[in-house]
C-alpha cells in the first residue's frame, strides 16, 4: 500500500501503462477491424462524383477483340487494356473480320494476323509477339551464321522510331545498324520482290495466254494476311491466288539453297531473320509448308525463315544496343541477294506490286520496254480503296487490273467480280490500308494510323523508284545470275520446288454470318451488337 503513495513511482508506472495500453489498444483495434474505415464493397479508390465511378474506370468501355493466347503474331497485355474498343473498330470496320462470323464460334480465334489492332491500340496493350530474344540468342551463338533481310517498307519507317519525320529514307543507316547488331549478311527483300515478279509475272502470262489452266483473274499472294483471308472466306478463289510465294519466303528458300551452295556455308548453321513491316509475316514464316530448303536438303528441321522481327522490334534492339541512329553511316546490302529494282521498292505500297508486274509482264509479252505510263501508273497509285486500270498490250490486247487495300475494300472488289459486274485479269490485294507501309509492324507514328503518314511513306518509295536507273525486275543483274546459275528459268521445276506453294482452305473453322457481314460492308454498324 505504501508504494502506491510514492508519487514518483506512480508517474513512471502510469506512463508505462499508458503506453502499453495505447499500443495494445491500437493493435487490438486494428486486428479486430475497429480502425478499418467502413468501405463500400467493390469499387475502391477516389470516386469523382461527376462520373460516379472509380478513377481507373475508363470513360468509354466497348470491349475488345478476342486474341488467341497462342497467336504467333500478336499478343495482348491485359494490364494495359482499357477496353476502349479501338481494336474492334479496325478489325470490324476496316478489315471485316471481327463480327463477320456466326456465333457460336467453331475452333479458331479468327485472325489474319494483319496487326492493324497493334497500330490502333492507344495504350500499346496489343503488340507483336516478341521474337527479339530468339534473335539475340542466335546472334550470340558462335555456331550460327545469322543472316537478315529487310522488306521494302522498312527503310521508310525505321527512322520514325528515332524521331525522324514520317517516310524518312534510312536504307543505308538500316543496313549499317543491322551490321552493328551482329548480323553477318544483310540482304534485301527487294531482291526476292523482283524474283516474285519474275515468277508471278510469268504465271500471269501463262494464265493470260491460256498455257495454264489456272483461272483468271490472278490474285497476288505476297500478303500473308490476305492469303489467310482468302483461305478463310473465299476458299473457292484459292486457284486464282498466284502460287508464287511471298518475297520473304522466297528469300528464305534461296538463302539456304542457292546462297548456301554458292558460298559453301552449311545451311544448317544459317539462322535466317527477316525485318518486316508486318505481323502476319510471323505467322507466314511458321506455316508448316515453308521449309523448302528443308525439302531440298532432305532435312525436315530446316525452316526457310527462322525469326521475323517487326520494324518496331528492330528499333528496340537498336536502342537496347545503344546505337546512335543519327551518326550511323550509310552502307549498302551484301551481294548475291542484295540488289533490288525500283519496281521491287514500290512493293511496299498499295498498287506497287501491280505496277511492278505490269512493267515486267509487258516486256515479257512484247519484248519491248513498257510505255512510260507503266512507270507512273497513276490509276493504281494513291489511297483510294479500290483502284483499276487497263493497259493495251500489243500482241495480246487489253489487260484489266484492279487493286484493293484493306480487307473491307478487298471484299467489295471480290464481290463485284463474283457478281460479274467487273472483269479483271490481275488483282492485287494488300491487307493493310496503304499497303505494307501501313503494316501492323510499322512504327506507331500516329495512333490510329493516319493517311498523311501513309502518304509520306509511299511518296518516299515512289521518289526513290523514279530516281533510280534500275526500275524493272527483269533487269536485276543478281536475278539474272540466279536464273542463269541455279533456277534455270521462271516456273522451272526447281522454281516450283523452291518458290511456289499451295493453299489450304480454312473455311471449316468459321461460319460466315452473311447478314452481319452485309451490315458491316454497308457501314451501318456503329456499335457492337449489344442487347
Amino acid at each position: 500500500m505504501s508504494k502506491s503513495f510514492d508519487a514518483k513511482e506512480k508517474t513512471t508506472i502510469d506512463r508505462r501503462n499508458m503506453l502499453k495500453a495505447l499500443v495494445g489498444g491500437c493493435a487490438t483495434a486494428s486486428l479486430t477491424g475497429c480502425l478499418v474505415r467502413e468501405q463500400e464493397p467493390g469499387a475502391k479508390g477516389w470516386v469523382p462524383q461527376q462520373y460516379d465511378a472509380p478513377s481507373n474506370w475508363p470513360p468509354q468501355v466497348r470491349g475488345r477483340v478476342p486474341i488467341d493466347p497462342e497467336n504467333p503474331s500478336i499478343v495482348r497485355d491485359d494490364r494495359k487494356c482499357v477496353l476502349c474498343g479501338q481494336c474492334i473498330e479496325v478489325c470490324k470496320k476496316i478489315q471485316t473480320i471481327y463480327g463477320s462470323y456466326a456465333l457460336p464460334v467453331k475452333d479458331d480465334f479468327i485472325c489474319i494476323h494483319c496487326g492493324q489492332c497493334t497500330l490502333w491500340c492507344p495504350t500499346g496493350a496489343i503488340a507483336e509477339a516478341d521474337d527479339r530474344t530468339r534473335v539475340l540468342q542466335a546472334l550470340k551463338d558462335p555456331t550460327k551464321v545469322v543472316i537478315v533481310q529487310t522488306a521494302p517498307s522498312t527503310r521508310v519507317g525505321l527512322g520514325e522510331e528515332f524521331g525522324m519525320p514520317a517516310g524518312s529514307w534510312v536504307e543505308g543507316k538500316q543496313v549499317a545498324a543491322l551490321r552493328r547488331l551482329g548480323f553477318s549478311r544483310v540482304f534485301d527483300t527487294n531482291f526476292t520482290a523482283d524474283l516474285t515478279i519474275m515468277e508471278e509475272g510469268s504465271e500471269l502470262i501463262e494464265r493470260l495466254t491460256g498455257k495454264s489452266e489456272a483461272p483468271l483473274p490472278q490474285l497476288t499472294s505476297c500478303c500473308p494476311g490476305w492469303v489467310k483471308f482468302v483461305e478463310y472466306y473465299y476458299p473457292e478463289w484459292m486457284p486464282n491466288l498466284s502460287t508464287a510465294k511471298s518475297p520473304q519466303q522466297m528469300l528464305g528458300a534461296v538463302l539456304k539453297t542457292y546462297y548456301a551452295k554458292k558460298t559453301g556455308i552449311d545451311p544448317r548453321t544459317i539462322f535466317s531473320v527477316s525485318v518486316m513491316p508486318c505481323t502476319a509475316k510471323k505467322f507466314e514464316s511458321a506455316r508448316p509448308e515453308f521449309n523448302a530448303a528443308g525439302r531440298y536438303w532432305k532435312n525436315d528441321g530446316l525452316r526457310d525463315i527462322d525469326a521475323v522481327l517487326t520494324v518496331r522490334e528492330l528499333a528496340l534492339l537498336m536502342k537496347e544496343a545503344g546505337l546512335d541512329f543519327a551518326s550511323l553511316p550509310e552502307e549498302s546490302y551484301d551481294s548475291l541477294l542484295g540488289e533490288g529494282s525500283g519496281a521491287a521498292l514500290i512493293f511496299g505500297s498499295t498498287g506497287g506490286v501491280m505496277e511492278a508486274a505490269v512493267r515486267t509482264a509487258y516486256h515479257a509479252v512484247t519484248g519491248q520496254k513498257a510505255p512510260a505510263l507503266a512507270f507512273d501508273l497513276a490509276p493504281v497509285r494513291g489511297l483510294s480503296g479500290v483502284k483499276e486500270a487497263s493497259l493495251d498490250v500489243p500482241g495480246h490486247g487489253k489487260v484489266c487490273v484492279a487493286v484493293a487495300h484493306g480487307l473491307h475494300n478487298a471484299r467489295t472488289l471480290l464481290d463485284r467480280v463474283k457478281a460479274g459486274t467487273a472483269r479483271y485479269d490481275f488483282i492485287e490485294v494488300m491487307s493493310c490500308p496503304g499497303g505494307c507501309i501501313g503494316g501492323g509492324g510499322m512504327p506507331r507514328s500516329s495512333v490510329p494510323p493516319a493517311d498523311d503518314v501513309r502518304r509520306s511513306r509511299i511518296r518516299s518509295l515512289q521518289v526513290k523508284d523514279a530516281a533510280g536507273t534500275l526500275r524493272e525486275s527483269h533487269e536485276n543483274q543478281e536475278i539474272k545470275e540466279l536464273y542463269r546459275s541455279f533456277l534455270g528459268r521462271p516456273l522451272s521445276h526447281l522454281s516450283h520446288e523452291l518458290l511456289h506453294t499451295d493453299y489450304v482452305s480454312r473455311a471449316k473453322h468459321l461460319k460466315v454470318d452473311p447478314k452481319a457481314l452485309e451490315e458491316i460492308l454497308a457501314g451501318q454498324v456503329t456499335e457492337a451488337s449489344r442487347p
Binding site: 486494428s30 486486428l31 477491424g33 478499418v36 467502413e38 468501405q39 463500400e40 464493397p41 467493390g42 469499387a43 475502391k44 479508390g45 460516379d52 465511378a53 472509380p54 481507373n56 474506370w57 475508363p58 468501355v61 466497348r62 470491349g63 475488345r64 477483340v65 478476342p66 486474341i67 493466347p69 491485359d78 494490364r79 487494356c81 482499357v82 477496353l83 474498343g85 474492334i88 456465333l103 457460336p104 464460334v105 467453331k106 475452333d107 479458331d108 480465334f109 457492337a528 451488337s529 449489344r530 442487347p531
Partner: protein, 261 residues
Amino acid sequence: MNGSNAVLVDLTQCVGCGSCTVACKLWNGKPYDKGAPATGLHPVADHSNWTTLTQRKAEKDGAPAWRFVKAQCMHCEEPACVSSCMSKAMRKTEQGPVVYRPDLCAGCRYCMMACPFEVPKYEWGKVIPSVSKCQMCSTRLAHGRSPACTDACPTGALRFGRRQELLGIAHDKLKTGRYVNKVYGEREAGGTSWLYISDIPFGQLGFKANVTSESLPAIAEHYMRKTPALLLGGAALFMGLSKLIQRKKAVAAAEEGKREQ
C-alpha cells in the same frame, strides 16, 4: 427474390475476348498476377481474379467446338455463405448481389466451406487477410448501373436484367432447340442470380453437375431447428437420470445405515 437483379450468360455468344475479366479488374482495382491468369485454358480463380474465363475445347456433333466459360460468384438466391457466416460479413442484398464486408469478417472461412461453387477465396498472402469474392458490382447496381463485366461485353453474351425476365428470355431461347434444355442456375443451390444457357452439356464445360437444387440454408435449417429440442430434451433426460441415480444412492445409503445399526 424474383424481382432481384441477375445476369444471363449465353455461352454460345461468347467469343473469348476476356473483356469481362479486364472490366472486373478495372472497376474493382484488382492487381494482375502473371502466374495467375484470369483467361486461357487454365485460369486461376483467386482473391484478385473475381471472374475467370476458361477456354474449353469441347465437341459438338463430332466436330470440335470451343466455348468460353465465365465463372464468378453465382450470387445464390439463398446463399449458404450468408447462413454460415457468424458475423454477418456476408449478406444477400435486396438488389441481388451477395456482398462481403471485410470490416465485419472474423476470418473463420466457414463461407469458403459452405459455398457449393467454391467461390470465396482467402487472401493467404496478407498479414490480416480477408475473404475475397465477386460483389456483382453492388455499388454500381445501387446507382442503377449494370455490373462492370456485363457493361464491357461486346457480343451481348452477358445480359443484365431482372431475374424473372431473364429466365423468360432464357426459356424462349431454349425453345429454339439450339440449346441444351437447361438453365444452369435456375434451380442450382436453390436458384442463383447468375444464369447460364449453353448448346453443349454443362458437364462437358466444367460446370458442377451434382449441385443440389435445394436451398442449402434450408437443408441446414432442417437439422439446426432441432437443436433446441435436442438440447432441452437431452438436459431433461440427463436431469431425470441424475435424479434417479441420486435417489438410488440415497436409498442405498439409508439401507446401509439401517443394517449397521
